[in-house]
Symmetry: C2
Subunit: 142 residues, 2 copies
């Protein structure tokens, strides 16, 4: 039976990271936990601040390194909206990001099952779909 301290599934993390030639380190675990704990698409800076709460000695460069490692190994995604800082999302199901232009909240939205038509010979690895508009709450207020 798995030790209760191991969560969500260290073995899974180790496997995913290992498949990319990377190790699961306490810092990477922490950064991953931060992403999973509050799924509000935080920036690297926000992740850094949150991670420092439980791991005061973690550094900026480490947070960037950890985020890169998680993205590279398929444990997180980058969300790039407009010209601000890149955000991060631990939801690895195929989905899009709805960005409300009023309250600036980012929502995960499901995608229709649809094969994108690529030019001949192109090979797709993944899709990043961002939708800009107004969320239900902000639409109501107008």
């Amino acid at each position: 039976m798995k030790p209760r301290s191991q969560q969500p599934d260290d073995q899974h993390l180790t496997e995913q990271l290992g498949a990319t030639g990377l190790r699961l380190t306490p810092q990477r675990q922490q950064v991953y936990d931060v992403l999973r704990h509050k799924r509000d698409h935080p920036t690297a800076e926000e992740v850094f601040i949150r991670a420092k709460k439980s791991m005061p000695e973690i550094s900026h460069a480490t947070v960037y390194n950890c985020l890169d490692a998680l993205v590279k190994s398929g444990l997180a995604r980058q969300v790039t909206l407009d010209r601000g800082a890149t955000r991060y999302c631990p939801n690895m199901h195929e989905h899009g990001h709805f960005h409300c232009d009023v309250c600036a909240t980012v929502f995960d939205v499901d995608l229709p099952e649809q094969a994108m038509k690529l030019p001949k010979g192109f090979k797709a690895d993944h899709f990043d779909i961002a939708i800009h508009g107004v969320c239900a709450d902000c639409a109501k207020k107008k």
Copy 2:
């Protein structure tokens, strides 16, 4: 008959900008021309360097302002890929951006006609679709 010096259609630019409460200035015209001249999804810095060739006195802040104005008035789109600088695209037809992870080239790709299913009450303004993968040329080389 329109003067040949006016291109692609200053009246159209003036109208689009005007609809957003903005003016068509020589700088905005120049930045727009830069985007249309070489459609390689340049960064603000690249646009700045290119614009300076014909307009040496243009400043950084102006280029950012001009790009913002073009985006705001529907004459250009922002392309955000990974954590680098934002890129710009003058193609206002609904399309996606294919980013080759090998040669870092960005290609415009057509989108299937498909209505995205949004959560109830949400209102979409536009979509930004980025596809990451390998282009035909780089796929061949492997």
